[in-house]
């Protein structure tokens, strides 16, 4: 491996390490408990506007910890979200928000988004697996 390649690999690894830890391929939402709702106030750590599922990472501000309590929250696709009134600029890193999610069944800190409120503006955005059907 050349030095240049090594530098590229190292740089990519660093960038990846600083960004999201996992990928969100096309999958079922059965790992989320649709009968439960978890609500908390937090800060947007990152917002990924990509297919097949957009993703938000939110730091839970209720329990300030030495290691931030980051929740990984999935949404439907950008196309479906656009039909629900979202844009890729709907959330910004650092935004203070209130989130409402269907949590992961296994208790890990993640879920599928139901509703998010941007506290500074009062903007409310919703997401649903069931996209708007009848016009």
């Amino acid at each position: 491996m050349s030095r240049k390649t090594l530098a590229l690999a190292g740089c990519l690894m660093m960038a990846v390490g600083l960004a999201a830890p996992t990928a969100f391929a096309h999958h079922s939402f059965a790992m989320f408990d649709q009968s439960q709702t978890t609500v908390f106030r937090g800060t947007i750590k990152d917002f990924q506007w990509t297919n097949p599922h957009a993703v938000i990472w939110v730091i839970n501000d209720a329990k300030p910890l030495a290691t931030p309590d980051v929740w990984t929250i999935e949404l439907t696709s950008p196309g479906n979200l656009t039909r629900m009134g979202w844009t890729r600029h709907a959330l910004a890193i650092g935004d203070k928000v209130n989130v409402e999610i269907n949590p992961l069944r296994d208790g890990q800190h993640g879920g599928s988004l139901k509703k998010i409120t941007v506290l500074a503006t009062g903007a409310v955005l919703t997401s649903s697996l069931i996209i708007p059907g009848k016009p």
Binding site: L8, G10, C11, L12, A25, T50, V70, R83, G133
Partner: protein
């Protein structure tokens, strides 16, 4: 003119005419005429963007279960139990095209129809791999079409109903009733669809799916789509695999996609 020479001319003419007739019979080689384009106006209006009725997909999954073979029925029971327990099988996790018939059966994303002379094209959202070419130019199926994700689809208009016959589907594509519930068709899949409006903005796709490897009998089911118009509803480009990459920068500062490890269909959240 000698008899032999005349016979030769006749034979040559037959060959030539036969060749010409053969070319004329092959609709794929004919350029569309202004009349062909004008004829599109007589077809039903399927413009706009169509979103699937996902709630009805779930209802269908519960109430109109495919007539699986006993072996596959057992496999489906186990898959359903895993999904119910929050351990879904990621059958589309690899981001390959859902293909036929899974796309029509379980997609949560929008699609659009394009009419051109001799063809109806379906384009799906969320992944560029969702694309069906349905030939309505009068051709017959190829004798042995190369298998593909969406197969070889030949259509014709029965009044305002588009009748589509599809064969040549890759054996690995799923017959699915959910994003975590389905089985590969294993080959010899045959799908007949009747696609038609049932209201001003409601479309039905009535499917009859035959598959001797996993179905004990033909399975008939309907999927419902609703029309939307306006800019915010237009299909947006998507690449399913984009979610498998992070936006990063290389050593030169260029924006690049950096692959990240895949999960198994479940979210792997940031550690507590």
């Amino acid at each position: 003119m000698s008899g032999a020479f005349r016979a030769g001319l006749v034979a040559a003419a037959l060959v030539l005419c036969g060749g010409a007739a053969s070319a004329a019979d092959d609709p794929s080689g004919r350029a569309p005429t202004p009349q062909d384009w004008a004829a599109l106006a007589a077809l039903p209006d399927w413009s706009g963007v169509w979103t699937p009725d996902i709630e009805d997909q779930f209802v269908q999954a519960r109430t109109n279960v495919p007539p699986w073979t006993p072996k596959v029925a057992g496999e489906m029971k186990a898959m359903a139990a895993d999904e119910k327990a929050g351990r879904p099988h990621g059958i589309f996790q690899n981001c390959l095209p859902e293909g036929m018939p899974a796309w029509m059966l379980v997609s949560h994303n929008a699609l659009e129809f394009l009419f051109t002379p001799g063809r109806v094209t379906l384009l799906g959202e969320s992944d560029g791999g969702r694309l069906r070419r349905i030939y309505t130019d009068g051709r017959a199926h190829a004798a042995d079409p190369d298998p593909s994700f969406h197969g070889e689809s030949i259509g014709h208009w029965d009044g305002e109903v588009l009748v589509v016959d599809t064969i040549g589907v890759l054996p690995e594509t799923y017959i699915a009733t959910g994003e975590a519930l389905g089985v590969p068709n294993d080959g010899d899949l045959h799908v007949v669809e009747r696609i038609h409006l049932v209201g001003p903005d409601t479309l039905h796709d009535d499917l009859e799916i035959t598959d001797p490897h996993v179905l004990a009998a033909p399975w008939r089911t309907t999927r419902i789509y609703y029309r939307h118009r306006g800019r915010k509803n237009e299909i947006v480009e998507g690449a399913c695999l984009q979610g498998s990459f992070n936006e990063a920068h290389d050593a030169q500062g260029h924006a690049v996609f950096a692959p990240v490890a895949q999960d198994q269909g479940n979210v792997v959240p940031t550690p507590k």
